[in-house]
């Protein structure tokens, strides 16, 4: 039994994490979003460098300098997003970057395809290596990724949520392949959210929380309930200055909303003064739901009622005109125009109100932007500062200012505090309170359970595009929500 042991003290996202991997085992890595699983794996695969700590491979201490080096050491990784080249053949993809050569610079196509076929056959996968990747299904692509990782001598294979996009059948094929790898003595680190998978293929499980190591257990010696407790494990504290607002009449009602593939048959309502939390794992359809409500994604069926009136929201403009505002999950790529100033960003959706015959009225713009700068305490040297130079928290406030400037009443916050420091978080929460007190309705999507629990009046839990649970703030606990989100009942 050769042991692999890694310690990473002092890393920002990871603090004193230990992981011991045995030969030929499937080791499950478990934790909430942001618990540090991906960071740890990126260090192992050479994408990040550790700041401190030690890594041992086969008993000898090693430094993993870069992804290429990791591969040379026998560490393969399969990311959540595939990195296959769609218009190359399966065999060519498997050997991409380390093709066998006939002469220097000339690829030995025949040998390469044969070798690729052997790898696939060994995995028990029926894919012709001459097929182009673009013609494969998602599950088959996942298996090609596995084959690719195995095309070099692999001792350790890391799989990051490999089943998130697969069907039941495809999962079975993948698990069979994993079984074969195990038999060959390959060690597998398997990152997953799904409890049922853990008990099907896992040998041992390590739980991470907030970048810290919580514990390692033999899978057959621990129950689901215990694992969930370990994953959640923290107390709600005074970070969440929740103030109850008076809940008024209904602002928004959604009935049977479906979008292609990602959201199915979702119904809920939102009242004035209410903060409606939506929880769920990544890929559960939360963001797609928000996009659809805001007219940015296509709606296949279902009805939306705003202030009791049936509305068709076909574009963001239509949504804005109905008084909706959307604070996107990804501020930089979807929320802000980084090269424009604070003032211009705040006023962008409401330009019509600050212009006459298409000509901007600079004084009115400045007055409005100035007002939100004060109200939201946006820290910026001037209104003309480009937002690219602002901190994350202040950028978020600029986006909020943009919707307040429009007097939006239905605000959708998608991960409002992601990447924001603790102080700014509290400020954002206070702003949410103020908005609710003024009679706005707020939908808050978040992966952070404490935030959802601390700030919501009501909580919906989504999983695979559906709403799978609804709790009042009084009855909700992290355990209940997590059970729901993980598909446990």
């Amino acid at each position: 039994m050769r042991d692999v042991r890694k310690t990473f003290p002092g890393v920002l996202a990871l603090d004193d994490v230990c992981l011991e991997l045995r030969k030929g085992e499937v080791h499950i890595l478990l934790g909430e979003n942001g618990a540090g699983k991906s960071t740890l794996m990126k260090i192992l695969s050479g994408a990040y460098q550790k700041n401190d700590g030690q890594i041992f491979l086969d008993g000898a201490e090693i430094e993993i300098r870069n992804p290429r080096h990791a591969r040379d050491l026998g560490i393969g990784i399969i990311y959540q997003e595939f990195i296959l080249v769609p218009y190359l053949k399966v065999g060519e993809n498997i050997f991409l970057g380390h093709e066998p050569y006939l002469l220097p610079g000339i690829i030995d196509q025949k040998r390469m395809l044969q070798a690729a076929q052997v790898i696939l056959d060994d995995l028990g996968v029926e894919i012709d290596v001459r097929t182009k990747v673009v013609d494969l299904g998602v599950g088959e692509q996942q298996l090609v990724e596995v084959a690719k990782a195995l095309s070099i001598e692999t001792k350790i294979l890391i799989m990051d949520e490999p089943t998130s996009a697969l069907t039941e059948q495809e999962i079975d094929v993948l698990f069979a392949a994993i079984g074969k790898l195990k038999a060959k003595g390959v060690s597998i680190i398997y990152i997953s959210h799904r409890m049922d998978e853990l008990f099907t293929i896992g040998d041992r499980v390590t739980v991470l929380r907030d970048g810290r190591f919580v514990g390692t257990h033999e899978v057959n010696e621990i129950s689901r309930a215990e694992l969930i407790r370990e994953m959640v494990g923290r107390e709600l504290n005074e970070q969440f200055p929740k103030q109850k607002a008076v809940v008024g009449e209904e602002l928004l009602r959604v009935e049977g909303l479906s979008t292609r593939g990602m959201v199915s048959d979702v119904s809920f309502s939102l009242r004035r003064g209410e903060v409606l939390g939506i929880s769920g794992l990544l890929g559960s359809g939360r963001t797609e739901l928000a996009s659809a409500l805001f007219g940015a994604g296509k709606i296949d069926s279902g009805s939306i009622f705003v202030r009791g009136r049936h509305c068709h929201i076909r574009s963001p403009r239509a949504a804005i005109d109905l008084g909706l505002g959307y604070l996107t999950e990804d501020r930089k790529s979807r929320g802000l125009i980084l090269d424009l100033s604070v003032k211009d960003n705040i006023c962008l959706p409401s330009v019509n109100r600050f212009s006459r015959f298409g000509i901007m009225q600079a004084d009115r713009e400045e007055e409005a932007a100035g007002r939100y700068r004060r109200e939201l305490r946006i820290k910026t040297p001037s209104l003309n500062q480009k937002v690219v130079y602002l901190s994350g928290g202040n950028q978020q406030k600029v986006i909020l200012g943009k919707w307040l400037c429009l007097e939006a009443e239905i605000l959708i916050f998608d991960e409002p505090t992601r990447g924001i420091d603790v102080g700014a978080k509290v400020e954002i929460y206070q702003l949410i309170n103020q908005l609710a007190a003024r009679g706005a309705g707020i939908i808050m999507i978040s992966s952070e359970l404490p935030e959802i629990l601390g700030m919501s009046d009501r909580i919906l839990v989504m999983s695979r595009g559906k709403i799978v649970g609804e709790f009042s703030s009084a009855e909700a606990t992290q355990e209940k929500i997590l059970h729901c989100a993980l598909g446990e009942n």
Binding site: S333, R334, I337, P349
Partner: protein, 315 residues
Amino acid sequence: MKRREFIIHYGRQFGTLLGLIGLCVVLWILTPHFLTVSNLLNVAQQTSINAIIAVGLTFVIITAGIDLSVGSILAFSGVVLASVLRAGCPIALAMLVGLAVGMMCGLLNGVLISFGRIPPFISTLGMMSVARGSALLYTSGRPISGFSENFRFLATGKILFIPAPVVIMLAVYLIAYFVLNRTKFGRYTYAIGGNEEAAILSGINVKLYKTMVYGICGMLSALGAIILTARLNSAQPIAGMMYELDAIAATVIGGTSLMGGQGSVIGTLIGAFIMGVLRNGLNLLGVSSFFQQVVIGSVIIVAVLMDMALKKQRD
């Protein structure tokens, strides 16, 4: 810190302006013919057509697009304008017809790009050929020449002592500056180029505004055609070849980023003048035309290098 802020906000234009001034000083030292009122007006007049087309391209490039068809649109709207003039149409009406032709070509570009989802490079490359071919077909390849003095005033006339094309150019720049900095349209232009996704989510009708931007670009090409036709007293179907590259060069030298979201017409004006002054100066000095191409190419590369360095400093 003060200095850093200054570089961040105005460094690019300031650098370009300094480059222009430096160039003028060098020419002033090298030849007595450069720094005279008549030569400076001469340069301004020669720069005007490229400068006007470059305004349209500046708008397009700020939206992170490109328009390769401006030269061909210039030729096509020029020959249509000329034929209408020759048919005895009043000057004002003929000019409107010419501008309308250019604008239609541009709008068609815009529709293909916004609604047809064809990349700007491809659709305007297509338009480049279509408009050129149309101009040749329309005229059977022959130039149309001979216009009234009143029409030719647009190129040969002087207002006070300033040549008419220069007055037109300055007017275009004043309007363009106003539009980009003080109007909704301008704000949206920057927003679309800066982050199209965020612009859509801010409720901007991105498709409509993009289409309009290409329409404006086409119309300004047609304005260039009016001046060119008046200047040469002839409209040629093969006019304006490679003008797109000159206009793109002026825009890029002026600091507009091909990635979109950033740029100014003032920079473009300076860029167009750098090219005009260089050509004029090299002619005055009697430098071989082959060498002129080398120099102008180098200036473009230096300008972009400057951009990259400034960006680095910013981050």
